[in-house]
């Protein structure tokens, strides 16, 4: 099957800065694809390369099998939901949504009808006459989504679209986006720095760092089986274990990772395990996050709320299931 978007050795340099560096990736048609990484990791530049706002310095990009280098954004059947929505302030909501159809020469009655439908799709029916300035952040976000979807794009690009929303709204929108994507079957490419968002929404995730793709896989793959220390640390802030430590438990001299929720806390001097000292506790609501010091190695553990906890400064014994210790590709 032809990939929806395909990058082959794509680089984009700004002067001496390698924003995107030799990236290879294939996005499957109809999937919800997330690009995850810290700011400056090149994920947004990748999105802009797909949209056509940037041109690759080298390498080739194809969209549904067609070469996209040198093709301007207005000739790509790809639409973007911008981070700060980029709604046209001088047009009302209906004309904002109908803009794409207007520039394609669709008649007024027809495009307004389509825009109304798109507004219903994002649950904003009857908001057409308002100005973008009169809407809340969440509503603007929906308008931006409707404005992109009304064009029936082959690929929908979303640039941190939930970043400006508060937590409750963000969780609602995550669910809505996910079900919308399932219902429409359009390929979604989603850029975020929030690993929780990427894991919960995406079918597959690409983790970016320093302009390179560190790992591509399903959320479970990325979370359970990180290939590098960066991925382990960035996705779910796993405990990164040095080769010497890992060798004691697995016999192999390689970097390892251990999820904070895999660590059990026991009273000191009982059974075998890793002796450590409790440094601090952070109450997070459903869980409590513990910072531990195991002979100079800083570890984190997450335990369910309500569990009986030792006091800060007390000595504890850490145990974990050896199967949960994941060995990474990076050798020691």
């Amino acid at each position: 099957m032809t990939p929806a978007v395909s990058f082959a050795k794509v680089s984009r340099h700004f002067g001496s800065v390698r924003a995107v560096d030799m990236v290879d990736l294939d996005i499957v048609p109809g999937e919800f694809f997330a690009m995850l990484g810290p700011s400056g990791s090149g994920k947004t530049t990748c999105l802009r390369l797909i949209a056509g706002f940037e041109q690759p310095t080298s390498g080739s990009i194809s969209i549904f099998g067609e070469r996209a280098e040198g093709v301007p954004p207005y000739r790509r059947n790809v639409n973007t939901v911008f981070q700060d929505y980029a709604l046209f302030p001088h047009l009302n909501v209906l004309d904002n949504v109908a803009y794409g159809l207007m520039v394609k020469g669709v008649g007024k009655a027809e495009r307004h009808k389509a825009a109304e439908e798109a507004l219903s799709l994002v649950r904003l029916p009857g908001y057409g006459a308002r100005r973008p300035g009169q809407l809340s952040g969440g509503q603007r976000q929906r308008v931006a989504l409707a404005r992109a979807l009304v064009n029936q794009p082959k690929v929908l690009l979303l640039d941190e679209p939930l970043g400006a929303l508060d937590l409750k709204l963000r969780e609602n929108m995550q669910e809505e986006l996910k079900s919308l994507q399932k219902a429409l079957g359009i390929t979604f490419v989603f850029v975020t720095h929030d690993q929780g968002e990427a894991l919960s929404m995406a079918d597959r995730v690409a983790v970016f760092n320093d302009g390179k793709v560190m790992q591509i896989g399903t959320p479970e793959d990325i979370y359970q089986r990180p290939k590098t220390r960066f991925v382990a640390d960035f996705v779910g802030s796993s405990n990164v274990l040095p080769p010497d430590f890992v060798q004691r438990y697995s016999g192999q001299h390689r970097w390892g990772s251990l999820r904070p929720e895999s660590i059990r806390i026991g009273r000191a001097a009982k059974g075998d395990g890793v002796a450590a000292r409790l440094v601090s506790t952070n109450y997070l609501g459903a869980t409590t996050r513990l910072a531990l010091d195991a002979d100079g190695l800083r570890l984190h553990a997450i335990v369910p709320a309500g569990a009986k906890l030792p006091r800060e400064g007390e000595a504890v014994m850490l145990t974990f299931n050896r199967e949960h210790l994941h060995l990474m590709d990076e050798p020691g």
Binding site: A51, F53, Y74, T80, F82, L87, F88, Y99, G100, K104
Partner: protein, 321 residues
């Protein structure tokens, strides 16, 4: 240790006033900010209200008086006779000529200013931006009269423009243009075309700066969004950039239009002997001593500007503000 230092800070929680008149005054102004605003605004409001609006009102009043044609004395009785005089063919001709010139100058300024303003707002950074401001402002620092006389030399028959075009074998272009009625003349410096060129040159900065300010406020991602939604660069200009820059263009056109309507020096030095409103006012209040007619002539640009702004507002020029 740091904490100990912080805890030993002996200062009280509420600091005493700094004392004296100034300290007391600061506190009063802080508590009653409107008082400060009133004190700051009073002088300019008095100036605008009495000196400016007052004299404008006096002018309006004068235009409703008339002149006794035999004695040359002003008859201080309310009449519309002077406005009737405005409608004489010769006077109407002056008004029409001035308004047409002002409209053309405004249009040309807008067309020339837009790309310059667009470049400055979107692309110029740091040193280039400074250079842009310097380039726009520099002509404003030199004397208006010097610039106009310089242009007279440039446009004269023996001037540098004729010389340059002769070298390029393009003189026939100018000669052909000068043969045309209305816009033509003996040379560029004594033709309406010359007047037009100098007007555009002199008022251009007043168009560039507001347009640049308007474009500066258009977020770059609106242009990207338009392109993303399938609009060609031309469509993006028509549907996004132009409507959002329109308040700036209107602001600039208020300058170029009203300054051209009122100017009497440029058409006197460069151009034909046919009068513009400003020259008519000058000669009516000076040599002719017909203050009421001069006043009535002055009211014309005010009324035109009023209609212009009303029309611009109705067209939605200020919606994007």
């Amino acid at each position: 240790m740091t904490i100990a230092v912080l805890n030993s800070n002996p200062a009280p929680a509420i600091l005493p006033g700094s004392g004296g008149m100034r300290g007391a005054l600061s506190d009063v102004f802080w508590r009653k900010p409107k008082l400060l605003l009133l004190l700051m605004l009073l002088p300019p409001v008095l100036w605008l209200g009495i000196v400016y609006i007052g004299s404008l009102f006096a002018l309006l009043l004068q235009s409703f008086f008339s002149i006794d044609e035999f004695s040359g004395l002003i008859n201080r009785e309310f009449t519309l006779k002077t406005y009737g005089d405005l409608l004489q063919a010769a006077n109407l001709d002056i008004i029409l000529r001035t308004v047409t010139m002002a409209a053309l100058v405004t249009l040309a300024s807008a067309v020339i200013a837009f790309p310059i303003a667009y470049y400055a707002a979107r692309y110029a950074r740091g040193r280039w931006k400074a250079l842009f401001y310097l380039g726009i402002m520099l002509p404003l620092w030199s004397s208006y009269l010097v610039k106009i006389y310089a242009w007279k030399l440039i446009l004269a028959k023996e001037g540098i423009l004729t010389w340059l075009l002769a070298k390029l074998h393009l003189l026939w272009l100018v000669d052909g243009w000068l043969l045309l009625p209305i816009v033509g003349g003996n040379s560029l410096s004594v033709s309406s075309t010359g007047t037009f060129i100098v007007f555009v040159y002199v008022w251009l900065p007043f168009m560039i700066l507001p347009v640049q300010a308007a474009l500066e406020r258009v977020p770059g991602n609106l242009v990207e969004a338009s392109s993303d939604l399938g609009a060609s660069p031309g469509q993006t200009f028509r549907n996004v950039l132009f409507p959002l820059a329109l308040p700036g263009i209107v602001a600039g056109s208020i300058f170029t239009f009203s300054l051209t309507l009122g100017d009497y020096i440029i058409p006197q030095i460069i151009g034909t002997s046919r009068l513009f409103i400003g020259q008519a006012v000058y000669s009516q209040q000076g040599t002719a001593g017909n203050i009421p007619l001069a006043a009535a002539f002055t009211v014309v640009p005010i009324v035109i500007m009023g209609f212009y702004l009303w029309g611009a507002k109705r067209m939605g020029a200020f919606d994007a503000l």
